[in-house]
Each structure stands twice: as C-alpha cells, then as structure tokens.
C-alpha cells in the first residue's frame, strides 16, 4: 500500500468523505512516514485546513509522521497565513 496520498484539485468540505476514508486506510498500512502530495491542489479553504489538522492528529496518534509536499505557491501561502507550519511538516 502506498504511503502517498494525492490531494484533490479542490480541497474543501466536499472532499471530506473521500479524504478521511483514504487517511483511515493508509494508517492501517503502518507506514513510518505518510506524504500528502499537493501537486494538483489549486484551492484550499478553512474546511480543508481543518481536514489537514484532523489528519495530522490521527496520523500522529498512530505513531507516524505526516509531510505535505509539492505545494503550489498560492496554496502554500494559505497554509503559511494560518501558521500551519507550526504544527505540520511542509516541504
């Protein structure tokens, strides 16, 4: 099972069910590191930020680490504005 999760183009409330299901599945694979690939992500709002925080907490509790990679500049700016880098590893 892969430890890389693709974030969708539009990461908001509508992405919740699929994203949470994927996170839950990947966690069972007991990977040491889990990557969230933001290559396709054009849009993220506060619901999306909430999903990231929730995912981080779940992954952290299962003794794995979470890193977000390939962020587009506009998306990166949003994460930094929310100071999410203080909690979540962003490459």
């Amino acid at each position: 099972m892969s430890n890389i999760i693709q974030l969708p183009k539009r990461f908001d409330y509508s992405a919740m069910n699929d994203f949470n299901a994927t996170i839950n599945t990947v966690i069972t694979g007991k990977h040491k590191k889990i990557f969230l690939d933001a290559m396709l992500m054009d849009y993220i709002d506060s619901s999306g930020l909430g999903l990231l925080v929730m995912a981080y907490k779940k992954i952290h509790e299962s003794n794995s680490s979470m890193t977000i990679i390939n962020l587009k500049p506009s998306a990166r700016e949003i994460l930094l504005l929310a100071n999410l880098q203080k909690l979540i590893d962003i490459k």
């Binding site: 619901s47 930020l49 909430g50 925080v53 929730m54 907490k57 504005l81 929310a82």
Partner: protein, 561 residues
Amino acid sequence: MSMPMHKMPRILVIDDDEMHNLLLCRFLKSKGFEAIPVHSIEESKQILRRDNNIDLLVLDYQLNDGVGLELLAPDVRSSFLSIAPVIMMSGRCEDDFLEQCFVCGVNDYLIKPVNLSLLALKVQSLVTSAGMQRIIRQQKDALEIFKAEATREEQIAKFTYEYLLRQNSYNYDGVDVWLKSFSAFSGDVALVKKSPSGNLYFILADATGHGLAAAITILPVVTIFNSMVAKGFHIQKIVSEINRKLVLDTPADRFVAAVVVEINPFKRSLNVWNGAMPPVFWVHEGQVIHQFNSDHMALGIMNENSFDATLTTIDLPHNGFLFACSDGLSEQENAHLEHFASDRIIETIAAQPANLLTDLSHRLQAHAGSDNYKDDVSVCIIQPSLVFGDLNDSALQKNNQLPSIINNFEWAVKLSGRQLESCELPPLCNHFLDQLGVDYILRKKIFAVLAEMVSNALDHGILGLSSAIKIKPNGFIQYFYEREEQLKKLSDKDFIKISIQWIPFESEGQLVLEVEDSGAGYDYNNLPNSSYGGRGYSLIKQLAESIEIIAPGNKIRASIK
C-alpha cells in the same frame, strides 16, 4: 416510509363487452397483475371514488353509458381517490382521433383487436413509471416535513445564539463595529468588555465555515471571554483557556481564528494576540504605524502543552485607533477573482474618510459588484482615547467617596510556591469586595493598585526579574521567557501575603492594602522612574492616598480613601 415494491399492481379493465373484458383480465392475471373487470362508466366512477389503490385503467372508448374519455375530464378525475394512468382501446385509428385522446390525458393507446402481448408490455411500462412518480411524491412530502423541522430548529438555535450575544454587547464610546453575516448565523463575533481594573479587552473571532455549525463553535468563545474578563483575568490566561476549551469540546476539524487585544490605560500598554486573522493595524492620521501580523495558529488546534500565548506588546499611543477585520473583508473577490486585500484596506484608511466603516462597506460593495459576500464580514475600530474618556475625571481622582462601611473588616491571604503561578490574587480579592458590596469604581481602583503591588512582589521581589530587560529590543519577549523559567523554580519558601483592612480614622476611614513577599527586599530609597515600570510605583502613587515601604523593602502598604 418505504414503497411497497412487492405489491401486485391493480388494474381496472373497463369494457362493457363481458367476454372481451374477461379475456383481458385473465390474461393480465397470468402476467402477475390483479385485474378487476368493470362494465360501465358509472361503475368505474363509483370504484375510483372510494378506492385509492388503483394503479392503471385499461379503458374502452365506447361504452353503453358513455365515452371512456368522460373519466378523464378534470372535474370528474378530481373526485377520484386514485390517480391512475390510462391505456385506451378503440377500433378507430385516425390521427385527429388519437390526438384528441392524448390531449384529454390518455397515456397510451391500443388499436382493436387488442394485441395481448403488446397490452402486457404497455401495462408494465406505465405501472413502473407510475410507481416512480409515487415515490417522488412521497419523497417530496417527506422533504417538506424535514424542511419544516429544520427551520424550526434553526429558529430556536438563532434565538439562543442572539440571547447569548445580547448579554455581551460592545456598547462603549470609541468602539465601532460593522458586521455583515453571510447567512442567518454569523460565524464571526466581536466583543468588547472592560475588566474590573478598567482594562479594555477586545476579541474578534472567526469560526471555520459559516452558518449554524460555525456559530455553535463560537459560543464557548463568547462565554469564556466574558466570564474571564469580568473576573479580572489577563489576556494570556484568557486565550489559553479559550484554546483549551475548543480543543476539548469541538470536533478536530473545527477551529476559531481570533484576534484578542488587551489595553491597559494605566500602564499605557497595548497587547495583541493574533491567531490566523488578517493583520491588525494601529493607525494614526491615515498611516499604519504598527502592524500586528498573525503569529499563531487559530484557537482550538494546539493542545494545552503546545499552545503559544506569546503576545506582541507596544506602548499605547495617545492618538489614533486600532483596526481589525475578518478575512471575509480581505478575501472578498471581484469579477477578476482579485481579493480586496490589505492593500485596498490600507488605501481606504489612508484617505481618512469621516466614517471609515461606511466607506469600507461602499468600497467592498463596489469591488464585489453586489452586497452578497462569500463569507461573514466583520470590521472593528477602537479608539482608546474615547473608550477611556471617563478616566480623566473619576477613577484617577483621589477624591472618591468611600461608602459608609460601618463595620471593620480584615481580609488576608497567603499563597506560596507554584500556587503563585496558577492562582490570580487580584480577582480573588475583587470577588470578596464585590460580595461586600463595595462599589464598582472603588473596586476598580483597588484592583489596579493591588495588581500592581502583587506584580511587583512576584516579578521583582520573588523572581528577581529586572525591568531593564524590557527596554531592550525584543525585551518583552525575553522578559516573558525568563519569567516563565523563574516561575518553574518556585518553592514553598516563596510566598506572597496580601491583606486588606478597613481602618476607621476619626470620622472617616480608609482602606489599607498591604502586600508582603518572601524576597530579600531592595534599596527602596533610590526609586527608578522609567516608563517600563522599574518597580511601577507611578500608578500606585496616582491612585493611593499614601504609600509606605517597609524595611527591608519586601513589604508595601498603600491606603486608599
């Protein structure tokens, strides 16, 4: 409310030719339908008026007592309990005849002599589509009920929410707020409240999302802010507690961005905590003199141990105002998908309009092209010089009348060790005085003096911190960190004693406050007088009748009239 799928479709076969009718019925029965033979228009009307479970009519055009189309006349059909589709049978096949039948509402047509397998197919098709229409009707009814219930719940929630907000108004001179809610509930809230000591506290909060879900997340923020300010707690304790509650009591994907501000008019300090909100500006004559950026994550994410309550502190300028807004303002897009952004906000401020809030709302509407914004919009302006206007006359004067307290009283408390860190002494004392019925203005004075005395006793007397640190750049942060370090080293040998006594003096009386700490004291004959509050006596001097420092310098007595 499920659709009975196994129910056998019931078909009325309306034909006055008994043999033909029997043949059709037998055939339909063999195909799994329930077929009821009817031989006249009149009999059909009677059955259809009392039976609400007929699924289909197979109807002959010409009957003894009339034409089959009669059953389709609107005034006749409206008296039936069953709404059933119709297959018409006739020997005629001319186009205009067929047209007339369909115009009258016939669903399908069979030319006599009837092809039985074709009949079966047409019956099945109509029964299925009628079944689906019934499901749609049932679902529509269920939806109406659901909508009505949801509206009722929303009204109750809205009532509770508004009641709570009304307890916490922001009706102070010098405070102006513009709130435009996206829907019935705003996920933004703006509150302003003065503490017993006369400090002004302000919070502008923005919960994730909007609508009812966001508003519910906001409620604990409102109640905690109000109760803690009323009890005299300081800003760092307040943000920490709000964060703690949100982490515990709300779902992990919900949080609250917030700006919290504490203005101390006596110490002339302005403290800001900004978590994930747009920058807060201090403006003077159209210029942004200071910008407080978001240094922290929103409230409700970090657990208690990792939460960062670090503040940004500046001296409170004598002129100007504080400007804060939610991202509903800065992120509102125009037709070209450009955000309103800080630039336009600063531009609007620089123009120094007579009414900044009105001006901003007009500019935003022009930018967005309508006044339906995509998020809750909140903008607040605070002018401390107006908020604290009353301080120029009453509270800082020494000639307040003490109430006629006839009975002596003495109140004393001693706290040691780590309790000094966690327990706030001035609020305790304030609560006691409140219970005695001491009036608000006097309590404010006592609180301010006591807070200063206790702060000196703890920071300088016991922890040994020097105010000289504060003068350096980044001094406040350094001071804060060193204070945290020293607090961890507190032992039972470290204590602070407070006492309040009412002492009758001739025909009047006075309140005597005394604070003693376990420190070594200091050379109190040389009092530094810096504005960063060496041992901040300037405040106490302003408010108290007299001050006495008792050797070796770890005990201070102030009397208030």
